[in-house]
């Protein structure tokens, strides 16, 4: 493949790809997302390929990233028509192939409502999907993440073309600011303002970074995005670099997900081959390179300044942020860091405009949000809904409610640094500020359902146990405060609470929150604080009555 030298060449190439593809030709998309892969969807895909070989070239088989409905994997989607098959086994393959050739549906493998028995064949009819707005994750079933041509076929890199050929860097920046795109990594900080700070920093050398660390327990949407559609994230990054004036980017991601690393590595190589990375991208005069970096398995390395230390090759200890990393980050150069989902939003803002983007979502939180739905939920998976969607829609309409016919006790957001709210707040809208006020900030977007049997003291103990092992140990309040909280919580779960334990916990939580160096320590006691706000009787009962019930 020779390098694409201009916007026109890219569009011509895209037209050729589309012309070579017959939209009427059936295509079978086998999901290879983390959960489906864990259920050996590779064997299913292999069976489709073998069967397809026998039938000549009449059906295309594609291995894709996460479709979303992880609970019912391995997932298979047949186009045209977006026919969804669930829990597909290699033995089902000949039947699916035969039916597909005849334009028929294998009834026994489609969705069936557990209560009414009603069937749903097409994706837009399946309850899990029909309440979603899948702007970011929706392309996943259409793309083999190893093939850049698949991304081009769905309109990929059109935003980059537009930005480079029709817009100045400042115009791109203004569009992102106007869209009020807020960082999806946890803080909800406006991405445009952060970009502007880096752009305006006096140093000429500037960096942009994709934070794909996703160390938050039970959050798996970013890797679904990055593994399933790496070019969308990369396209966002290149556009951001253009707006900011950065010459170099870093993709920072986990080393322990073989498909993720393979796809990202391949995407970077293909983009370089096509001339979408490197010198003079599409003849615009803009130069940009991107390097891949891996975290080595500790949560604190996802903290932005610790992450930057790690890219420099230093121990991943966070730096105190009295100078922001957007002004002085990697090697003391201005460095703009956003997470996977934030970057993935950029191309559509450029293509469809800020006005379109701000028409989706709530007043202060625009666009959609990817959510990892798990815990005691019927339908776990990766979900995308407009900001402002009531939690009830997520939990019941999409999630199907609580497993095993139990009732909902709490909704937990944001993993080990998030918070839990009681079931009666189920009508709260999914919104950065609203959820923060309730004490359960969205965080990166891991949403867990906890059923009536959940012991809230045990949950706090569990989360603290997780964080104790993920702390770097540099600063005293985090290193010392968390193990002390863990010790007390462990005693409480055993019913061995002592008078004064709750006051000790409150003091430790307050000081760890106030005095810790980085976000990990500062928010480590947030789950506990939310528990004290909503579930304090659960804790008090452990002091007075020994191992009193839940």
């Amino acid at each position: 493949m020779p390098k694409l030298q201009s916007a026109a060449e890219l569009e011509k190439f895209r037209a050729e790809i589309l012309a070579s593809r017959d939209p009427a030709k059936p295509c079978i998309a086998v999901c290879a997302g983390a959960a489906c892969d864990g259920m050996d969807s590779a064997a299913v895909a292999a069976a489709f390929v073998a069967e397809g070989g026998k039938l000549g070239d009449k059906i295309e088989v594609r291995t894709t990233g996460c479709h979303g409905y992880c609970e019912k994997g391995p997932n298979v989607v047949v186009t045209p028509g977006d026919i969804c098959y669930f829990e597909v086994q290699p033995g089902d393959v000949p039947e699916i192939m035969a039916a597909t050739l005849k334009g028929e549906v294998v009834e026994r493998l489609v969705y069936q409502d557990p209560n009414t028995g009603a069937k749903a064949v097409h994706m837009h009819e399946v309850p899990f999907y029909k309440h979603q707005t899948r702007l970011l994750i929706g392309d996943n079933p259409k793309i083999d993440p190893m093939r850049i041509d698949d991304y081009l076929a769905v309109g990929g890199y059109a935003a980059l073309v537009k930005a480079l050929s029709e817009m100045s860097p400042v115009q791109v920046l203004d569009e992102v600011k106007k869209a009020n795109l807020r960082g999806r990594g946890g803080g909800g900080f406006p991405a445009g303002s952060k970009w502007e700070t880096t752009r305006n920093a006096p140093e000429k050398t500037k960096y942009v970074i994709v934070n794909g660390h996703e160390g938050e327990s039970a959050a798996f949407m970013d890797r679904a995005m990055l593994t399933g559609n790496p070019h969308k994230v990369l396209e966002g990054l290149i556009i951001g670099a253009y707006a900011i004036g950065a010459q170099k980017g870093f993709m920072y991601t986990r080393h322990d997900m073989p498909l993720l690393t393979k796809h990202v590595r391949n995407a970077l190589a293909q983009a370089k081959e096509y001339g979408l990375l490197g010198k003079n991208i599409l003849g615009s005069g803009f130069d940009f390179e991107c390097e891949l970096h891996f975290d080595v398995g500790i949560f604190v390395s996802g903290e932005s300044s610790a992450l930057m230390r790690s890219i420099e090759g230093n121990p991943p200890e966070p730096r105190p942020k009295y100078i922001r990393t957007s002004v002085s980050g990697i090697w003391d150069k201005p460095s703009n860091l956003n997470n996977v989902e934030t970057w993935a939003n950029v191309p559509q803002i450029i293509t469809r405009g800020a006005d379109w983007f701000t028409s989706i979502g709530s007043e202060k939180s625009k666009g959609t949000k990817l959510i990892s739905l798990s815990g005691n939920v019927v339908n776990s998976g990766v979900v995308e809904v407009p900001m402002g969607t009531p939690l009830r829609t997520l939990v019941f309409d999409i999630g199907g409610g609580v497993r095993d016919g139990k009732t909902l006790k709490a909704i937990h957001f944001g993993g080990a640094m998030g918070g839990s709210i009681p079931a009666d707040l189920i009508d709260a809208p999914l919104d950065f500020d609203g959820m923060s006020k309730l004490g359960a900030p969205i965080g990166a977007g891991g949403l867990l359902l906890m059923d009536e049997d959940t012991d809230m003291v045990e949950v706090a103990r569990y989360l603290m146990d997780f964080l104790v092992n993920e702390s770097c140990g540099k600063c005293a309040p985090c290193r010392e405060g968390m193990p002390q909280m863990l010790h007390i919580l462990t005693n409480l779960t055993k019913g061995e609470g002592k008078p004064g334990d709750l006051e000790r916990l409150e003091d430790l939580a307050e000081v760890t929150g106030l005095a810790s160096l980085c976000a990990l320590g500062k928010t480590s006691a947030d789950p506990l604080k939310s528990m004290f706000r909503y579930f304090k009787p659960d804790y008090e009962s452990r002091i007075a009555g020994g191992s009193a019930g839940k």
Binding site: A34, S217, F220, H255, D256, G297, G313, S380, L448, F466
Partner: protein, 150 residues
């Protein structure tokens, strides 16, 4: 241990102190653990004080400073697996192997570790052996899974 490959990796990063983590990751993947003499070689080649090599090598869970067993048994203790009964899986693995978190048996058959959420929460609780996922596990099924690994 494949000395040549390790030396090759070290040579690739000679004189680059900033590549310490890359070198350690590659050697860990290749050799499954980081022997002390290899860490000394890295320190000399990359011109990083040995104390700092030790700091990094002992900091991250990914790196192992002791030899690992032929098979790595991992029980996910992520939040969803936890809510869905990971503790029972741990107890069963510990009972069957006699190992505690992080230990390797005398015959070097298994190294047992708990930890990081790998994002396949929907099929939790999970047992992962040598990277192969066994989703929706129950304690009863564990013995049959482990039997497959000698």
């Amino acid at each position: 241990m494949c000395e040549q490959k390790i030396d090759g990796i070290i040579e690739k990063y000679r004189g680059e102190p900033g590549s310490l983590i890359h070198a350690l990751v590659e050697i860990q993947h290749e050799n499954h653990w980081l022997p002390r003499e290899v860490l000394h070689k890295i320190a000399d080649a990359l011109t990083v004080p040995f104390a700092q090599v030790m700091q990094i090598a002992s900091f991250y869970k990914t790196f192992s400073l002791t030899p690992k067993g032929r098979h790595e048994v991992h029980v996910c203790t992520g939040m969803t697996c936890h809510l869905r009964g990971a503790a029972k899986l741990r107890a069963k693995v510990e009972e069957l192997t006699g190992l505690k978190d992080g230990e390797t048996d005398a015959e070097s058959r298994f190294t047992y570790e708990t930890g990081a959420c790998l994002g396949s929460c929907s099929i939790g609780p999970e047992l992962i052996v040598d990277g192969k996922h066994y989703g929706r596990m129950t304690p009863e099924k564990i013995e049959d899974v482990l039997k497959q690994y000698e």
